[in-house]
């Protein structure tokens, strides 16, 4: 690997890192047959972690960071003074294959600035994916960032080679989009997401291969005034209407040569964390968007308690919950009991009566759960209604500066 390629890699990895998504999950299990390279495991693998604590699973790069668009939040916007570079299709393919063979990555996550035209850019990206699959028998994971302004047939071609497709919503409201991303158009983003959603459903029904790991999106948190509640409602809508697999929340991060129009401050990481927790409540804990809204104050989640605990503290009359009798739905509402702990409780209580010690073996967060549950040898007494309960369970104020 020569210095020119290394230099491009540094520029185009740096330019891609503000996209939070790096998952390599959701693809059907595959393994290499004779002459082929690569496999997928279903759950995905994180091959390394950088000092920001985030997982490195895929080679996440841009094809180019030259861009015709001028989105204020983006490090690669047309008017930014960052260094620019462009990979050839062959270079991306080579990097992916060589990194993969050394077991550095699960596959490729390719995105791009828009050059010449959205169609031209999308075609180049499709060529990378096609060459990996056809010329190299590559069976690893491919995630393509789809360009919503590209022609529909190109978006559909991408689904033939990629495991996952994604289109970033970036800004949750039409007004923000207009202000911060003047060339983008909410309707075409939604339209393209709906189109991909339809094709995925059809292909599943017809047993054809089309983006088998589904589609995902990203919203930026903290670049505009959208509340947590509005973000979560937007996500719930997207999960329902276009069948998204994941919504990624990305705390707006200061970028080199930032735009004057945006706040330059440390990213709101704790807020991002709370949004992910709320998102999980909707996807895995049977919370409705209204329940989640109930956990927030004036549309924003508290930073010192997680949204599930916040909900429980506001709905104390529903607690304590008897672990030996309660329905699954209500056990899922107990702070400190994860979905897996709930499953284990339900499994175990068919054969035994659970005491507090037993529960302690099934969850790692008994301290948080105790005031809200009843076991065979334990009741919380008046704890559930104590006025200082919130203070006792709140996380110590986390240092949110850098170190």
């Amino acid at each position: 690997m020569d210095e020119t390629l290394a230099k491009k890699l540094r520029i185009l990895a740096d330019a891609a890192k503000y996209d939070a998504s790096c998952a390599s999950s959701g693809a059907p299990k595959r393994s290499a047959r004779k002459g082929e390279l690569g496999s997928t495991t279903g759950a995905g693998i994180c091959h390394a972690y950088t000092p920001d604590g985030r997982c490195v699973s895929l080679l996440k790069i841009l094809l180019t960071n030259w861009c015709l668009f001028d989105c204020a939040y983006c490090v690669n916007r047309r008017s930014s003074n960052v260094r620019r570079a462009k990979f050839t299709v062959e270079e991306v393919v080579r990097l992916t294959v060589e990194f993969y063979k050394r077991n550095y990555i699960e596959g490729l996550f390719l995105s791009s600035g828009i050059i010449k035209s959205p169609d031209h850019t999308m075609e180049q990206m499709n060529r990378v994916a096609k060459s990996l699959r056809r010329d190299h028998g590559f069976r690893g994971y491919i995630h393509l960032k789809t360009i919503p302004e590209a022609s529909p047939w190109l978006i559909e071609e991408a689904g033939l080679f990629a495991d996952r497709l994604s289109i970033n919503v970036e800004l949750p409201t039409e007004q923000s989009l207009e202000r911060l991303a003047p060339e983008k158009d909410g309707a075409s983003i939604q339209g393209a997401m709906a189109q991909i959603g339809e094709r995925i459903v059809e292909a599943k029904a017809e047993r054809r291969r089309f983006a088998p790991a589904g589609q995902s999106t990203q919203v930026i948190v903290g670049a505009d005034a959208t509340t947590d509640e509005a973000l979560i409602r937007k996500s719930a809508h997207l999960y329902g209407s276009v069948g998204l697999k994941r919504v990624y929340y990305s705390a707006f991060s200061p970028i080199p040569d930032g735009a004057a129009i945006l706040p330059l401050k440390s990213p709101p990481l704790q807020r991002e964390h709370r949004l992910y927790q709320a998102d999980w409540l909707i996807r895995y804990y049977e919370f409705t968007p209204d329940d989640v809204a109930d956990a927030a104050d004036e549309g924003m989640f508290a930073l010192d308690v997680d949204p599930k605990l916040a909900w429980a503290l506001k709905n104390r009359a529903r607690f304590p919950v008897d672990v030996n009798r309660a329905e699954r739905e209500m056990l899922l509402r107990v702070p400190g009991l994860g979905a897996r702990a709930v499953d284990r409780i339900i499994q175990a209580r068919r054969h035994t009566t659970l005491r507090l010690d037993d529960v302690a073996r099934l969850t790692s967060a008994l301290k948080r759960a105790r005031p809200f549950l009843i076991a065979a040898d334990y009741t919380p007494g008046g704890q559930t209604d104590r006025l200082d309960l919130r203070a006792r369970l709140a996380e110590p104020a986390r240092q949110l500066s850098l170190f």
Binding site: R10, T41, T50, P51, K101, P152, L160, P254, A348, L354
Partner: protein, 476 residues
């Protein structure tokens, strides 16, 4: 329960076979867990020098059978004793013991299983190969230090992934070698046997540095997932100290720096580029279709529509067949020849009409040497409809004739029964609106039994006569 203590010595590492044999023998002889002293020695020395009685396999609940191989690789010297306790209790009547995860023994074994699972996962994730070349053949070698005896359990993952490569994994306990066909386990390896890193290893370190976002530094999260013990065998972690040192200052500088004067780049261009990318003519559209990927692999080429732009009548069929796929032209196979004959009898000039298909690629099933046509699915039809819509926009016929159900589906987006809708029909799709006519596909006539053929063909020609008439009226 009294009696002499039985000593069972198993081979070092994960001695699954030895453990199984020992359990069978112990159960057959009715030796309870409290009388067994498990040890791990240089040789498998079961029951002193007395050979174990030949015994058949034990029947165990699935959950127990699955647990055993996931605990045996653990380094805990008590692993065999704990597993035997579990097996003993299950056989003594607690058949559902594994379903009680709150039981202290089950809990402990589950934790051990989890530790093995994590160790395997981290080995799959953090192992790094280095490339070397011998006589033009590339070879990959890795050095890894797992917590437990998992090499054998971890190897199938690497076989499935790197089946066509030649590789070796060296660990302090044992080594595994794959030559592209078979896996061989060998003696412990040495770190010094690892070849030196190459340019891609340096490139990987570059990548690792660049993908890190210093404004989000969170060392605790990194260490929780990638504990320091793994670092010395991962090339990228050499970059960590410098990255961390630079992060705080770098981010502060980034925040304090006032935005620079934006580069002046022509804003009108982005919008112009987007408007410009749509095909401006039928030729441009056809060029796109020609280089497109078949939705279902197999077709030789895309079969484009044929006929003059501005034709009065456009015929839309289903999809190209075997002949069409070979020749790259629509309606040249048996059904196409039948259509030509019928058009001639009905007084329609084929050369002055536009002929195309709803789907542009041939889809087939191979039976011996024959390629048997397969009907396109609704999903395939909707994938190709973008092109049909555009194509008809460019050709702008006065009348569109749908030949068969697939064409109707492509033109309306709905399944419409041909028998009922046969005749004049108004097609509406997005902003396209065409006077239309629905009739059968000529291949339908070919499939009919001989006695019905003549009548059906007559009706088809009759339809085409009405089409010709409608065409004259609309063109008039």
């Amino acid at each position: 329960m009294t009696g002499p203590t039985r000593a069972v010595a198993l081979a070092p590492g994960a001695d699954l076979a030895g453990f199984r044999a020992a359990v069978r023998a112990l159960v057959a002889e009715g030796v309870p867990p409290e009388r067994v002293a498990w040890s791990v020695g240089a040789t498998s020395d079961l029951f002193g020098s007395a050979p174990p009685a030949e015994t058949g396999p034990l029947r165990l609940p699935r959950a127990v059978a699955d647990l055993v191989p996931m605990v045996v690789p653990h380094r805990d010297p008590e692993r065999y004793a704990l597993l035997f306790q579990l097996i003993w209790r299950v056989r003594a009547g607690e058949r559902h013991l594994m379903a009680v995860p709150s039981d202290p023994l089950v809990h402990r074994l589950n934790l051990m299983r989890k530790a093995i699972g994590r160790d395997l996962h981290k080995m799959h994730a953090f192992l790094r190969f280095r490339r070397s070349e011998e006589a033009g053949v590339e070879r990959f070698t890795a050095w890894f230090e797992p917590d437990h005896h998992i090499l054998e359990a971890a190897a199938p993952f690497f076989v499935a992934r790197f089946r066509s490569l030649t590789w070796s994994i060296l660990t302090p306990d044992a080594s595994a070698h794959w030559d592209g066909a078979a896996l061989r386990l060998g003696p412990p390896g040495r770190r010094e046997d690892l070849p030196p890193g190459d340019g891609f290893e340096a490139g990987w370190r570059d990548y690792y540095e660049s993908t890190f976002n210093p404004a989000r530094t969170n060392l605790k999260a990194m260490r929780a997932e990638m504990p320091k013990k793994y670092w010395r065998n991962m090339p990228e972690t050499l970059a960590i100290p410098a990255l961390v040192r630079g992060a705080e200052a770098g981010t502060r500088a980034m925040i304090e720096r006032s935005p620079s004067v934006p580069a002046r780049r022509d804003p009108a261009r982005a919008v112009a580029a987007m408007a410009d990318q749509d095909p401006a003519s039928l030729d441009e559209l056809n060029a796109i279709i020609r280089r497109s990927e078949p939705l279902v692999p197999g077709a030789t080429q895309a079969v484009l529509g044929e006929g003059p732009v501005g034709a009065t009548i456009a015929f839309v069929g289903e999809q190209p067949g075997d002949q069409e796929d070979r020749k790259g032209r629509p309606f040249v196979g048996p059904a196409g020849q039948l259509l030509s004959r019928a058009m001639q009898e009905a007084g329609i000039d084929r050369g002055a009409s536009y002929l195309t298909n709803a789907v542009k690629h041939f889809k087939f099933e191979e039976r011996g040497k024959r390629r048997i046509h397969q009907k396109p699915t609704a999903g395939e039809v909707s994938h190709y409809r973008w092109w049909l819509d555009r194509e008809l926009e460019f050709v702008a016929p006065r009348l569109v004739v749908a030949l068969g159900a697939t064409a109707v589906l492509a033109l309306t987006g709905k399944a419409v029964p041909i028998t009922r809708a046969r005749g004049p029909f108004q097609f509406e799709r997005h902003h396209n609106r065409f006077a239309g006519f629905i009739t059968v596909h000529p291949s339908y006539l070919l499939r009919l039994p001989d006695e019905a053929k003549a009548e059906a063909y007559g009706a088809f020609v009759g339809d085409l006569r009405r089409v010709a008439e409608l065409g004259r009226e609309l063109a008039g």
